[in-house]
């Protein structure tokens, strides 16, 4: 660590939290209304209470460097004015490790140790019910035999005698907050571990879930130690198992935290692993009488490590979302403080506090885990919703697109039907009337029959039909239609020694373009050209266009554009052209002088 400041802050913070727990004096044993609290008795050398010595509760026998187990015998006097009618009970909130209770010589709870290992009941309160007929008026005697392990010392806290009805709720609460809590957390940790394991199985790439699942497994061992009698496994091995589990658990949390933050603290992790290995080896080899204190010494490691976890978290707070950091830091430091408090209770012979609270630690850790899972879940839910939103939008857009496409398709089909019909009519005009006209003309030419008037009329009809067919073309462009007009008239021009000066540039853009407008326009142009051929005596016909106009001019001898003269020369043609020009919204402009004539159509 480059900076020790977070570590110091964490130390102070944990010290503060631990002090707070201390001040709260959780589980302190106080008199219960309507019951008797037994605080004074005698310590004896034998079950029958030979050589009694007066004692005060709580009683903490010194911790001894000795293997095996020890037994202690205590005797208490209970004076009664009268014998109660209802069920009575003895409620022992805290002791170590096993009790055997007798009232007036009759066993009411447990049994004599004989050659058993003492049951590990140090975190499990006892409620021994006493039938009223066991009691008598005057002095009653309560014999308490304590069995336990010398390295941790035997303990008897103050206990209560009274109506079972009154004592049961107190017992229940005590049980719930000690062994009950540990058992509850065992179930929780098991479920969480299995769930995390399943998640890890589904997402092998995310080793973090494996770390968490493993930590849950070790938390389960800790829960078992705080919730159950583990004497079947044997004092030595179980002590080793649960104590090493604490070290491994804290190590795994350290790893998880580093991974979560993205901090690489491999060297420290390795040191921690070495310490765990050492704890295992030393714990297995150390002589039995020194096992407990040796393992206790090794608890410095997880304690420091848990501070380190917090310090790392604090030092990297910028990397973690503020919300996550607060939740993490709070619960992790609670767990750490509980560990320190537990260490204190275990290590000090007479700690002045009798309730273990380390069984709450997995709950705190579970909160962290749940928070993590929920926060990730919320995150994926949010992105899922965003995705769904986007998808919905896309679907809506695509649906709209589809609808438009269908509409277009319908429109296209309608247009196609119109187009097909138009094509059919055009084909009929083309092959039918067109063919007839051409054939008739051919007949006249082949046979030299028919007069010039009929021939001209047929040729005019053919040209007009051409114009009509052209203007009906679906994608007709005026410049192309002018081009077609030129192609057809070219031969006629050649016959009259005329030629075109073709100046079609920009595509003429009629205001209301349509087949009939186009046809009218082409008729004006065609008529202007045929007029020139017939009357002008010109050699060049200039056809020019731009976006807003078309002009047809010749280099012929011109004519008087006055109505009289014009009519004489052009019949009703000029008036017709003017009318057509007006119908397509174009100005018709005719100028003529000795150098030629110009017809100009202008529109805007």
């Amino acid at each position: 660590m480059q900076n020790s400041r977070p570590f110091i802050i964490v130390l102070a913070w944990i010290a503060g939290l631990t002090s707070l727990i201390w001040v709260l004096d959780i589980g302190s044993i106080k008199p219960i209304d309507g019951t008797v609290m037994l605080t004074q008795g005698r310590s004896c050398e034998t079950p029958d209470c030979a050589e009694p010595v007066d004692i005060d509760l709580p009683l903490h026998y010194p911790e001894l460097y000795a293997a095996g187990h020890e037994s202690r015998y205590l005797s208490f006097d209970l004076p009664l004015q009268d014998v109660p009618d209802d069920l009575q009970a003895l409620y022992l909130p805290s002791f170590a490790d096993e009790v055997f209770l007798r009232v007036n010589g009759i066993p009411v709870y447990g049994s004599e140790l004989m050659d058993r290992q003492p049951a590990r009941m140090w975190n499990i309160p006892v409620l021994a019910t006493i039938p009223p007929n066991l009691l008598k008026v005057g002095q009653n005697r309560i014999d308490v035999a304590l069995y336990g392990y010398p390295q941790e010392g035997l303990v008897l806290e103050r206990f209560h005698f009274g109506s079972a009805k009154v004592l049961v709720p107190h017992y229940n609460w005590r049980f719930l907050t000690s062994a009950g809590m540990a058992r509850f957390n065992l179930g929780f940790m098991a479920v969480a571990g299995i769930m995390l394991g399943i998640i890890w199985a589904a997402r092998r790439s995310e080793a973090i879930y494996a770390v968490l699942a493993t930590s849950c497994a070790f938390a389960c061992i800790i829960c078992i130690h705080f919730g159950f009698d583990t004497s079947v496994i044997g004092y030595r091995w179980w002590s080793l198992i649960w104590q090493v589990s604490v070290s491994i658990y804290v190590f795994l949390i350290f790893r998880f935290c580093n991974h979560y933050i993205g901090e690489d603290l491999k060297p420290l992790e390795n040191v921690s692993l070495v310490l765990i290995a050492a704890e295992l080896v030393v714990g297995s080899l150390v002589p039995a009488p020194y096992l407990f204190d040796t393992l206790l010494l090794f608890k410095l490691h997880p304690s420091l490590l848990s501070f380190l976890v917090l310090a790392v978290l604090l030092g990297n707070r910028s990397k973690v979302d503020g919300h996550d950091l607060r939740i993490f830091f709070f619960f992790l430091s609670m767990a750490s403080a509980m560990g320190v408090y537990e260490l204190y209770i275990i290590a000090v012979v007479d700690p002045g506090r009798n309730q273990h609270i380390f069984q709450f630690m997995p709950l705190a850790m579970l909160c962290v885990c749940l928070w993590l899972v929920i926060s990730r879940f919320m995150l994926s839910l949010r992105s899922y919703e965003e995705l769904t939103g986007t998808l919905k939008q896309t679907i809506a857009a695509k649906t709209e697109e589809l609808r438009l496409t269908y509409e277009k398709l319908g429109e296209a089909e309608r247009l196609k039907a119109i187009n097909d019909e138009r094509q059919r009519i055009m084909l009929d005009l083309h092959d039918g009337i067109g063919g007839q006209l051409v054939n008739t003309l051919a007949y006249m030419q082949n046979n030299g029959k028919g007069d010039a008037v009929i021939r001209t009329a047929l040729e005019d009809a053919l040209r007009d039909l051409s114009l009509m067919l052209d203007s009906l073309e679906t994608d007709a462009s005026i410049s192309t239609l002018l081009g077609m007009l030129r192609t057809r008239l070219e031969a006629l021009l050649a016959e009259h020694a005329l030629e075109f000066d073709w100046r079609i540039d920009d595509e003429p853009d009629l205001p209301n373009a349509g087949p009939s407008q186009t046809l009218n326009l082409l008729r004006i142009v065609q008529e202007s050209i045929t007029n020139i051929i017939k009357h002008a005596g010109a050699s060049v016909i200039t056809v020019a266009s731009d976006r807003n106009s078309i002009s047809i001019s010749d280099n012929g001898n011109g004519f008087d554009t006055g109505p009289q003269e014009g009519r004489k020369r052009h019949g009703h043609g000029l008036a017709g052209m003017r009318r057509r020009a007006a119908s397509i919204g174009a100005e018709f402009d005719l100028t003529s002088d000795a150098t030629g004539t110009t017809v100009r159509l202008v529109w805007r």
Partner: protein, 218 residues
């Protein structure tokens, strides 16, 4: 020269008088002789294989079918033979279909037929007549392809110069005028137009026709 080179021409035209006029017009050209006249698809195919002509003038609307069939037979012929469509107006969309089938161009049968002999000779020399409307059609095919048809590729792929020439043709300019405008010879303009025809022909597979039909071009 007229003696050594004489090209035979088959006319497939159902209207008798027109056929006669065509025959007369063709035979005014010394280099050309009319080997036969048929008035339907069957007759046209029979005469085609009997006379193996150099040029076939074919009308499209025939009593027993479309002249396109004759054009396809011409394309498949194992001797040098080219088909020209005889059209009344030279503008119908069917002409494009004929060009896709392999016709080298069209000749107008309306109006004066004075130039028809020259038209046929120019085809024999490698030229391809083209009308403004056909040019417009070809341009539409290019742009409709470029305007993002789902298949991506244009129906025909033209060079800038070819597009320029087609644009001018579509406005009614003659080859000579186009050559003057672009500063190239009339022959070069003709070569460009031949290339365009070739591209049209190369792409004239079923798929392309199907696409063009779908787009309402044919």
């Amino acid at each position: 020269m007229a003696e050594t080179v004489s090209h035979s021409v088959l006319i497939v035209e159902d209207r008798h008088e027109i056929a006669l006029r065509l025959k007369a017009a063709i035979e005014k050209t010394p280099e050309l002789t009319v080997c036969a006249v048929a008035d339907d698809v069957d007759g046209g195919l029979n005469q085609l294989f009997e006379h193996k002509p150099r040029i076939v003038l074919v009308d499209l609307g025939l009593p027993d079918g479309s002249g396109i069939e004759v054009i396809k037979a011409v394309v498949a012929a194992n001797w040098t033979c080219e088909a020209l469509v005889v059209s009344i107006f030279g503008d119908e969309a069917r002409v494009i279909e004929a060009l896709r089938a392999g016709a080298r161009g069209y000749v107008l049968k309306s109006g004066s037929l004075a130039n028809i002999g020259n038209d046929v000779l120019s085809v024999i020399e490698g030229g391809s007549p083209i009308s403004p409307q056909i040019a417009r059609h070809l341009l539409a095919m290019v742009s409709s392809g470029a305007a993002g048809s789902p298949e991506g590729s244009p129906l025909i792929d033209l060079t800038g110069r070819e597009t320029e020439i087609l644009n001018a043709v579509a406005k009614g300019y003659k080859r000579r005028e186009i050559g003057e405008k672009l500063g190239i010879s009339t022959g070069t303009v003709g070569n460009h137009i031949n290339n365009i025809y070739q591209k049209l022909n190369v792409n004239s597979n079923t798929e392309a026709i199907a696409r063009a039909t779908r787009m309402g071009l044919l």
